[in-house]
């Protein structure tokens, strides 16, 4: 709490040490993954903290499987999931936060209940559903399945934000003859942008990282998303454990997320967390 300026030199040094420990603990594994991804052959099996630059692993990640396609799949799935979750979540949040109706509390409880479903508990039923819809081994199937993971918390967080909006804004718009949808789009949407960005980012991360559904509902290399592709990397050459490739692939999929987090860091802290905390 407060200003570091008031502190004694000893306290400052202790604080600097604490911050250093926190940063090193957070960053070191990722640094080591990057370092490993640039090392090949037997060099990889001699632990060392030094950074080398041999891009061979990166080349073979793309050469040995359709990794570019896998990345594209992940982008398609995550983007579609975010779009659908935010669209459905915003309108639903309006109904849940601004309109009084019977059973609203029960509905919110049900939505919260869904967000705590173990993925395992729905796996077999979901598999049947996906087959029945003819979406097996297709990205739309994955998008649909991921909605179970992202939609509940999107609705939940957006509802808590929506509740905080002042009543007068809405009433003024209605007096002007606006329909509820227009109110949502023209009045609430602009005000909700920070919350939308934070929730959207969270949904993106969930969909980007999802593994179990992607493993179960896709089959061919061309339809897989990156987490599954990484889990199934078999080996650069037959002569080594594929750690170099796995690390290279891991770095590739993680970098976009790290960048997103870097860019939206302030917004995540301010937006999403505030919503969750108020809930």
């Amino acid at each position: 709490m407060g200003e570091i300026g008031h502190w004694s030199p000893g306290a400052k040094a202790g604080f600097a040490a604490l911050i250093t420990v926190i940063v090193v603990a957070a960053v070191f594994p990722f640094y080591y993954a990057i370092a490993s991804s640039f090392r090949t052959g037997s060099d990889l099996f001699e632990p060392s903290l030094a950074l080398a630059f041999d891009p061979a692993n990166y080349r073979s990640v793309f050469a040995e499987q359709p990794f570019g396609r896998n990345i594209l799949n992940s982008v398609i799935v995550a983007t579609a999931v975010v779009g659908l979750s935010l669209g459905l979540g915003l309108t639903a949040a309006y109904a849940l936060a601004r309109v009084a109706f019977r059973g609203r509390g029960l509905m919110l409880m049900c939505i919260l209940a869904v967000s705590m479903f173990p993925q395992l508990a729905v796996l077999s039923g979901m598999f049947e559903l996906i087959r029945w819809l003819g979406l097996y081994n297709q990205l739309p199937g994955l998008i649909l399945a991921n909605m179970m993971l992202t939609l509940p918390f999107t609705v939940w967080v957006l509802t808590t934000f929506m509740r905080e909006m002042p009543r007068e804004l809405e009433d003024a718009a209605y007096v002007d003859g606006a329909t509820p949808l227009q109110v949502i789009v023209h009045v609430f949407l602009p005000l909700m942008m920070p919350a939308m960005a934070a929730t959207g980012l969270l949904a993106f991360i969930v969909a980007w990282n999802e593994f179990l559904f992607a493993l179960t509902f896709t089959l061919s290399n061309e339809q897989r998303t990156v987490p599954v592709a990484i889990a199934l990397i078999t080996g650069a050459s037959q002569f080594e454990l594929p750690w170099g490739n796995v690390m290279a692939a891991s770095v590739i999929v993680t970098v976009p997320l790290v960048l997103l987090v870097l860019v939206f860091q302030r917004r995540i802290v301010a937006g999403l967390a505030a919503g969750a905390v108020k809930g």
Binding site: V23, P180, A231, A270
Partner: protein
């Protein structure tokens, strides 16, 4: 437009707005869960899902082969899961609190440090598992190498294979991965605290620890409880990290891992669904208990 007519129209739109969301949730969550609960009362097998018989509660208990209640593997998984959830969530809360307090202090390059702290949280779980699996490798892992070099240990440890260490390794990775999220939630709560209290406390010479104990902690308590609930939910459902790191090994098997093994590896959809159902019920009950104890109101009907 009259207020009555407006209310009517809003209610009608509310129904329209809720319809697609509800439909999707029933489709992707309600229906599959109902299937699982139904299967838990049958002897369905994966080889032919269409051909099964209703067996009542036999998968949960029966005098013949015992059922779930008599299955040591299941109870070990329950024990592992509860131990893991309790230990990892406590550690994450404590460390999250420390990190959040540190990051709430204004110091040079704070933005950069905050972003760096969030990195573990942004890394996909499967990637974390692979990364740590590599770092904890007993022969080529950098962790053993550094500990050996520093003289902390004198022989390489088998982090993921040793029964006594494996569960701690899982806890360590999970703490590493989720402490940032915890810190984030706490940090947000800290930032909403009124600054003048602290200024006053500082001028009165109240020791920082007293301030923390009597002012900060009570104020962020509700936020803390919510954060702990969210984390506990995740911890109880824990699957991919354990599965990617140690597979089906009993020492680290969580309830989800057990259920998947029955369901998929042993093709026993009935029994596996029974385990999934119990997992669901345990989670639901624990949440009920936590909510009651923490007295956090989740819905606000009055508004």
């Amino acid at each position: 437009m009259t207020p009555r007519g407006l209310g009517h129209e809003r209610r009608r739109s509310a129904v329209l707005f809720l319809l697609p969301m509800t439909a999707i949730l029933i489709l992707v969550a309600g229906w599959p869960l109902a299937r699982t609960i139904w299967f838990s009362l049958t002897d369905a097998r994966l080889s032919d899902l269409g051909d099964y018989a209703f067996v009542g509660l036999e998968n949960f208990w029966n005098p013949d082969w015992g059922g779930l209640i008599a299955d040591d593997g299941w109870w070990q998984a329950v024990g592992n899961t509860l131990w893991f959830a309790a230990v990892s969530v406590s550690l994450e809360t404590l460390l999250g609190l420390v990190v959040a307090l540190a990051l709430s202090v204004r110091f040079p390059m704070r933005g950069l440090v905050r972003a760096a702290v969030l990195i573990p949280w942004a890394i996909p779980t499967i990637v974390s598992a692979k990364m740590w699996g590599w770092m904890l490798h007993d022969q080529y892992g950098v962790v053993n190498w550094m500990l050996l070099g520093a003289g902390v240990i004198d022989t390489s440890l088998a982090w993921t294979a040793d029964a006594d260490l494996a569960l701690w390794s899982v806890v360590m990775i999970d703490v590493w991965k989720t402490t940032p999220f915890m810190a984030l939630l706490i940090l947000a709560a800290l930032q909403m605290l009124p600054g003048d209290i602290y200024e006053a406390a500082r001028l009165d010479g109240v020791p920082p620890l007293t301030v923390f104990w009597h002012v900060t902690l009570p104020l962020i308590w509700p936020a803390l409880v919510v954060a702990v609930i969210f984390r506990a939910l995740d911890a109880l459902r824990m699957f991919d990290l354990v599965y990617a790191l140690t597979g089906n090994a009993e020492d680290t098997a969580m309830m989800s891992v057990f259920a998947r093994q029955q369901l998929v590896d042993f093709q026993d959809v009935g029994y596996g669904s029974a385990a999934s159902t119990v997992l669901f019920l345990i989670i639901a009950c624990l949440i009920g208990v936590i909510l009651t104890l923490g007295r956090v109101r989740l819905t606000d009907e009055a508004r």
